[in-house]
Symmetry: C2
Subunit: 145 residues, 2 copies
DNA sequence: TTTTTTGCAAACGTTTTGCAAGAAC
DNA sequence: GTTCTTGCAAAACGTTTGCAAAAAA
């Protein structure tokens, strides 16, 4: 849903300077199907930028998150980022534990959940974790080796 | 479901020494209705133990988690602990953002969720966040002051 | 030329570790 | 007496900050 240009556009229109690093970040997230840890982002970026510093990656991730370009989710292993979902419909995710790839779930459990009147609901989280087709196949192949 | 004695028993039966600190921890979690951050645990424990060190609290939380006495959950604000749910039925939680109190939700969204055949589900997470009766009242009272 | 962004270094908060003294068994 | 647990100190880790140099506008 998000092209590289759209991401760059939305950063530029908010007064951010479009640096090479930010272009690369836009490309990375536009092409990445799932969640990325800051360290993974740093390592990817490091391939293109010799003297890259971790804190710049962090700063840019935070800026992009504050802009609404990225969304941040807490996993057991720590914070991860992905492109903010642009879909209009409220939805949830199936997340591959191996590759981080996410797939939308249109069903929302709140429809069926009985909440007491005296509990004021603010938000909810529904996530399904497992292994996607590709990663199941790899795993099977590896164990047969 | 967990009494102090049951917790202590299950620690002793696994070869752990029953120290004063561990007794106090058992009491704290047996009587606490919701999630506690390590810092909160440390602060509570500090009232009873003069020269208490943070790392001992951490070690004990981890040991109790490995034993299955506690369960650990990642929130935006960091890791928190609570007694491991002993209920036989699979269930989820409503969690108060103010006091950390948890309430069970018997409904499980997986019943209704269409998962593609080629995605191998390992686990899922369904959590409802909001404010419980008591905390809504406090908030209302505070804003009217 | 002005303002933002970057890399560096250092600080910060949380969590983990090695070790010797102390406590539980 | 043996083994586990504790407190201390220090390290490790992820994340944030201040600052001067460099780059974008």
């Amino acid at each position: 849903m998000h092209t590289i240009d759209e991401i760059i556009q939305s950063m530029a229109s908010r007064g951010l300077r479009i640096t090479d690093q930010r272009k690369t970040l836009a490309k990375l997230f536009a092409e990445s199907p799932g969640y990325l840890a800051p360290k993974e982002v740093y390592e990817f970026m490091g391939k293109s930028y010799a003297g890259l510093s971790f804190d710049t990656v962090y700063r840019n991730l935070r800026v992009m998150e504050e802009l609404g370009v990225l969304e941040q989710v807490m996993f057991e292993e720590g914070v991860k980022f992905k492109l903010h979902c642009r879909e209009h419909d409220h939805h949830h995710h199936m997340i591959c534990l191996q590759c981080g790839h996410t797939y939308p779930i249109t069903y929302c459990p709140m429809e069926q959940t009985a909440v007491p009147d005296d509990f004021r609901v603010v938000k909810h989280k529904f996530e399904v974790f497992g292994y996607c087709k590709e990663c199941v196949q790899e795993e099977t192949a590896a164990s047969e080796r």
